[in-house]
Symmetry: C2
Subunit: 419 residues, 2 copies
Amino acid sequence: MVTKKMSELPSSRALPRGFRFASAACGLKRRGQTGTLDVAMIVSDPPASAAAVFTQNLVQAPPVVLSRAHVRESAAAMRAVIVNSGNANCSVGPGGMVASRATADCVAKLLGCRAQQVVVCSTGVIGVPLPVERILNAAPGLAESLEFSPRAFEGLTRAIMTTDTRPKRATTSCRIGGKIVRVAGCAKGAGMIHPNMATMLSFVVTDAAVAPSVLDRALREVVNRTFNCITVDGDSSTNDTLLVLANGASGARKITKATGADYVSFVAALEQVCKALAIGIVEDGEGATHLVEIEVRGAPSDAAAKKVAETIALSSLVKTAIAGADPNWGRILAAAGRAGVPFNPDHAEIWLGGMKMYGPPKGSPYSVALPLDERKAHQRLLEKNVSMVIDLHHGRCAARVWTCDFTQEYVTINASYRT
Amino acid sequence: MVTKKMSELPSSRALPRGFRFASAACGLKRRGQTGTLDVAMIVSDPPASAAAVFTQNLVQAPPVVLSRAHVRESAAAMRAVIVNSGNANCSVGPGGMVASRATADCVAKLLGCRAQQVVVCSTGVIGVPLPVERILNAAPGLAESLEFSPRAFEGLTRAIMTTDTRPKRATTSCRIGGKIVRVAGCAKGAGMIHPNMATMLSFVVTDAAVAPSVLDRALREVVNRTFNCITVDGDSSTNDTLLVLANGASGARKITKATGADYVSFVAALEQVCKALAIGIVEDGEGATHLVEIEVRGAPSDAAAKKVAETIALSSLVKTAIAGADPNWGRILAAAGRAGVPFNPDHAEIWLGGMKMYGPPKGSPYSVALPLDERKAHQRLLEKNVSMVIDLHHGRCAARVWTCDFTQEYVTINASYRT
């Protein structure tokens, strides 16, 4: 398996066969938002298996409601995705669903398929009516310019950006029965990032042949270890969608059950792409200067470990300390202490930036602040990647989540997003 | 009932009788922390009824553990409080409890009472061993300088400050059976403020005569409507303590049951002081420039209403929008939508700064963004006090919580608290 660095354009060889991409600027993005591309299309020439997870927020934008229905109806024969940035088409009254339906209808007509074979996604500001005619006017041009190329894929990755500072993409490949199968994906963040798939927009395409129910199972397995393990600010969005399309164009044999070597290889490849995208979102979190990996060990259950890790990951005090490269492990312990998971703080241990800061000194059963070279610790925390490990010594389970630090820049971005 | 403004010193007439106060600088505060006073004492000359609520964090500092036991043992005869700022005496191993016990012992000896009649509180940095000898050395001087005066009370309010920019105090009075009863309190924030009494240090003293069990009941009733309705950043502290002492020095008849006019009058006075202190903490939240009152109406239960209000109050996206005076009601709706409380967003209504921003226009059952004078809305949100009202139209219950905005200054303060 070879994964490309996120900054490099994938080569044509890495792109899954049978997909074409197009993007355009139709005037939905406001000045100051990243780039000008704001609408894009993905088409699978062979009808593809589709699986998706959507936001769990009670407030769900019309494109989410519509696309959930379309994925259910066309899980075995999805044809296209149309996505816009700059406007979430959310909380705008019944006109929102009219606009999403019109978009799906328009794309279906252009491609000669049914509207139910089209997924519609929107991301951007909430509550502003979507000027859908701009998307409808751009659609024929998009359909005409569809192509299988790294450039076209790159356009897609840029067209979905809002406050992202860079596109997030990842590719990998694996062998199924001797044939090469490719997986490529892209994602956009960067605020409103929180577990349980109220997270972001992400599209993953593969030329593996996978039965819809198996694809759904694989996606849910992978999401729990990747996208559901990241958080930027605890806010979940109204539009978040992660979609996987598998069109079988590789010619590899079809994966029809969720066991066995083929399934395991495919899940590993899917996980690799999703993990790279998820971490890419956190790294590019609004205002982020550090990527923080939080590992909780010695918990009574995996769920408990994850709860503690998430509580730490969401603590404003922990996140601001990391922004200041301050080895303030006391805040980590205090955050763990309010997670609702039983453990004895007197026996817990904490490592920050690879340095053990809290634990029992030799000959004592009680944890205390360990002698610390403050200057060295500060230096360590200036590095881009920061690791936090907390051992609760209250069980054998573990979990890992990723987050970013909380900077003044986050506040600057979000204090003036609309105005 | 008359409540003094927080900025004014209370007059001697407003101070509950039978209490004396003292404060000193013993060298626990680091440079840059507010003021230099860092240790203080409260003494009730008649043994007082005591009730307290403590942090619900699993990580509890030794002073919390010790004081909980002391309040249990001496609920009918508490004599003193000794409190230090600059060091939380938390997560320092068995030495922490030794230090807290030594402090209680020392004060008890000076006052001629039992150690169990002394409450010990600490606030400040976690994980640094407390140089307790500084407190022990300062204690005799404190005991000698105890006095009943506004100046002495003022010293107490300053000695408990850490990142607070100003002391928080409130006084009021009421009549119990024709006699005047006084209630005075002080509090310190300013980070790690979150509901469920993992909140702060606050001391309330009254010369009312109240049976311990009734005082406990009154405190819990009041806390649910005041301190448990505020949040700054969602982080709960390891040391938080709210203590009420009632010494009966007013000569008013004793309140022995949690019903009737006397109880109602006393609870109202206690609530007035606690509400002023709680809101004072939020107003002085780290980096705060706005006080935000969030009212949720039309919820299926009071608990559901509070859950929605707290979710909004904790949303970084909502709080940064307020910092930027950005009328971004979409973020309020999105936060409400992830609170886990059922409602139909299509029928909800949102007012921000007194202006209705989301609701059904005339003749339509569906809520949409209402026409908005953006400039006027921005102007409104520049005011110090910001009100948010969201009606879920899904029941008849309501709740109100207070929070502050989330500014760059919050990040600045917390990125460099220790270093």
